[in-house]
């Protein structure tokens, strides 16, 4: 009797758990919102660490701060560089970029934005951080009230690109000097579409529309960023209507949400690109380019995209996402061809394959297991080691990781230079493939500001990447969001949560 009762009870609990998924669509919770005020609640998995946009370098921070601050340059809907605080810019010589500025911009506290602001902001950025995008800036010269020259130590072809995010954030000189750094980090004042209201750490940041915004008042009156560290909980909150946009979804979560009536899954192009890094520096099969080419031929990448990733990714030929400058669309990805792969392995002297270790973050388990299974088909036995992401990264940095590892890269400057810089040249931090020709081409594309010369060098590098195959090239993921049906918002390819263009139906 006692036993039977407890079994029934357990079953009941399990049943309620299972059914709740299906019954959710009907009873949406009424939102207790003032109908006149348009409030948009956006959730991300981690909170900002500071409200000082120049004393940080992480996306969760930037996602919030990009709504309070403006940058010199921005991106338009076609991902081209577009005016923001700067109206136009040009390279007046190899090491000088000149920016013309808007003359009608004020900070939220009324302070005027001008050339002095730019000088102060860039100097402050470089004094707070030794390692940022603009560390190569030698000096900033005020030409007149609304013109500045940014002088770099060596030619920097993508300086304007770098001012789209962290590097180009403009901060109020007078406010910071008068109110102090600490106060600024708690009560930020920017020029952006939203003004700072309050910050409850690890819980929420509240912003309100800036009625005097120079690009026009945003449609949203109140913008709230909630921190929800657990994706399952974030999705639940989207279903109940507590939040309007859930960000940073993984493909498995997005697949589960397909067909849910209350929310729509939005998949947007994103420039985060993934690959298997192959350590070519040690003797053994991986030092042979035929083996590496064989690995590229052996993995049915489109199938993994369609199944494991639910179609939420796009094939790439090398390390560069299709939107970035420098990508050469004539360079085609490796064909899936098992016969050719086996042939190449035999040529290299490994007709029966070999054994190899692969390191990956535990969150990418399904993906790397699928890749391992594909490689197994040509006899390459892959032992997958899963670990938390931080351990993976520190092993890679310390060069103690396995000869294969799964990694991604976001080149948010949208120039191939960012996709290559840590990998391709022999002296770079993540380099595990030494090639003299690639080194020379890297110098050309990094030290020239002429787009045509750069493109030629970048094409050369991509040809080498196909020929030498020092990576298994995979895909660029889609940015995945769950949005309530009454929200209209276009995510951008950089993946930063700029909410100025959002509106509620």
């Amino acid at each position: 009797m006692k036993k039977a009762l407890s079994i029934i009870l357990i079953l009941l609990v399990i049943l309620t758990g299972c059914t709740s998924n299906n019954t959710s669509s009907g009873d949406e919770k009424e939102k207790e919102k003032d109908s006149s005020e348009k409030e948009l609640v956006v959730a991300q998995v981690s909170d900002a660490s500071t409200m000082d946009p120049q004393n940080q370098g992480s996306m969760p921070d930037m996602n919030i701060l990009i709504n309070i601050f403006d940058t010199l340059v921005t991106r338009d809907e076609n991902n081209n560089l577009a005016p923001s605080l700067a109206t136009e810019w040009e390279a007046i010589d190899d090491t000088t970029w000149q920016f013309k500025l808007r003359d009608d911009v004020t900070f939220h506290n009324g302070e005027k934005f001008n050339a002095e602001t730019v000088k102060y902001s860039i100097e402050r950025l470089n004094s707070l951080n030794e390692i940022v995008e603009l560390r190569n800036v030698k000096e900033v010269n005020v030409v007149d009230e609304y013109t500045v020259n940014i002088v770099t130590e060596a030619p920097d072809p993508i300086l304007p690109n770098k001012t789209v995010l962290f590097g180009g954030v403009m901060v109020p000189k007078q406010y910071i000097e008068e109110e102090g750094e600490d106060n600024f980090a708690k009560n930020p004042v920017g020029t952006g579409p939203f003004k700072f209201v309050s910050w409850k750490k690890d819980n929420e940041v509240v912003l309100e529309a800036n009625a005097d915004y120079f690009k026009g008042v945003p449609e949203i009156d109140k913008l709230v960023f909630r921190t929800i560290p657990n994706i399952a909980d974030m999705v639940a909150a989207a279903k109940t209507g507590e939040i309007d946009i859930a960000t940073g979804l993984t493909s498995d979560v997005a697949i589960q949400l397909e067909g849910d009536q209350n929310i729509s899954v939005v998949a947007a192009d994103w420039i985060r690109t993934f690959y298997l890094v192959i350590d070519t520096t040690k003797d053994g099969p991986l030092a042979k380019k035929e083996v590496r080419q064989a690995m590229n031929h052996a993995v049915n990448i489109q199938q993994i995209i369609d199944t494991v990733l639910g179609g939420y990714a796009k094939r790439v030929a090398t390390l560069i996402p299709s939107q970035n400058f420098g990508v050469d669309s004539d360079i085609k990805p490796f064909e899936y061809d098992l016969e050719k792969a086996k042939e190449l392995l035999a040529q290299a002297g490994y007709p029966d394959g070999f054994e190899v270790d692969l390191d990956a973050a535990n969150t990418d388990s399904a993906i790397v297991q699928a890749i391992a299974a594909e490689l197994e088909k040509v006899g390459i036995k892959v032992k997958v080691n899963l670990m938390d992401r931080t351990t993976l990264m520190s092993n890679i940095t310390a060069k103690t990781s396995a000869p294969l590892y799964y990694l991604g890269n976001t080149g948010w400057t949208m120039d191939a230079i960012s996709n290559f810089q840590s990998y391709i040249k022999s002296d770079r931090r993540y380099n595990v493939w030494k090639n003299d020709e690639a080194d020379q081409l890297m110098d050309v594309q990094e030290q020239n500001i002429d787009p045509e010369i750069r493109q030629e060098a970048l094409t050369g590098i991509q040809e080498l990447l196909i020929e030498e195959a020092p990576y298994v090239y995979l895909w660029q993921l889609d940015g995945l969001y769950a949005m309530s049906n009454d929200v209209e918002w276009e995510p951008n390819v950089i993946g930063v949560l700029n909410m100025y263009n959002a509106s509620l139906k």
Binding site: K2, K200, E204, T227, P229, T240, E242
Partner: protein
């Protein structure tokens, strides 16, 4: 009274050793998990820049020297600065501690409010349908992990019924689900413990004598039986507070509760060693303190116990 005071002093001395041990363990364990410098810098940082940062953070020194500096600072009540927030670790934790304490204490209160009546009634009506129901719930409560219960509660009460928020901090309605999820295990444990303890006491000779004297049944239970069966309960509550603080780490992650637990997880992910250290030392301190209070409560409950 004087002996009690010296007992407390002695316990405080022990507490210092316990905290010293905790600090040592947490120091070496965090150092074994990897290199924070690797993730603090952007991917294009050079080897020299990494070395520079390592020197700046004092991580270039031998581990034992670092440990010596850490203990020396600790003796001066300097708990260090967070790597991620560039701020005093103590301040960062104290900002979030109220939320954790609010959650843990609400859990404790809910657990006691449910388990004490349930345990008593269960013991009195031993073998009845009510007793069996309660014991089945106890089984469930003790065997289901908090993160799973948490997700089920969210799915049922928030997503399906739309009664309560899915997470975050706010009014009392935000507190119900996480506090219940966190307290469930303790609730079950205390119910079972109180039930068996009370059943044992009820069958002892002095209760029978009290009943034979014709005392009211209620009075016998409340005054004679309950008091004696509470002793093990108090012990367990003291120990379970540790479990509540530990469980809050998981619960806060599930319910997006902005407390110390959530911060510890993020600090671990970021390899923010100073922040992890301070948080663990502080939580251990709270645990030690609560256990001291529990030991002192024994005196009140059981006059036979005396501290010398």
């Amino acid at each position: 009274m004087k002996s009690l005071l010296s007992y407390i002093l002695r316990r405080c001395l022990y507490a210092i050793f316990v905290l010293f041990g905790v600090a040592t363990v947490v120091f070496f364990i965090t150092r074994m998990t990897g290199d924070p410098v690797a993730i603090m810098l952007p991917p294009d940082a050079t080897v020299e820049q990494m070395e520079e940062l390592r020197i700046e953070l004092g991580m270039d020194k031998p581990l034992l020297t670092q440990y010596g500096i850490f203990i020396w600072d600790l003796l001066h009540f300097d708990l260090g600065e967070s790597l991620r927030y560039d701020d005093s670790t103590l301040k960062l934790i104290l900002e979030r501690l109220p939320a954790t304490l609010q959650l843990a204490s609400t859990s404790l209160i809910i657990a006691l409010l449910v388990s004490i009546p349930a345990g008593i009634l269960s013991a009195l009506k031993q073998g009845s349908l009510f007793d069996r129901l309660i014991m089945s719930f106890v089984l469930i409560g003790q065997s289901f992990p908090v993160f799973w219960v948490g997700i089920l509660l969210i799915l049922f009460f928030s997503v399906s019924l739309g009664l309560l928020p899915t997470g975050g901090i706010g009014g009392w309605e935000h507190l119900i689900l996480p506090a219940f999820a966190l307290g469930l295990h303790m609730m079950a444990l205390i119910t079972r413990l109180l039930r068996s303890s009370l059943i044992e006491v009820l069958s002892s000779d002095y209760i029978r004598t009290a009943r034979a004297k014709g005392l009211l049944s209620f009075k016998v239970i409340a005054k004679h039986a309950l008091r004696n069966s509470l002793l093990p309960v108090v012990t367990i509550v003291g120990l379970q507070v540790g479990a509540l603080l530990g469980g809050s780490v998981v619960t806060e992650m599930v319910f997006a509760w902005p407390g110390v637990g959530q911060m510890i997880i993020q600090a671990i992910n970021f390899r923010d060693f100073p922040l992890v250290q301070t948080a663990i030392i502080l939580l251990a301190g709270i645990f030690v303190l609560i256990n001291l209070i529990v030991d002192l409560l024994y005196v009140v409950i059981d006059p036979r116990i005396q501290y010398k």
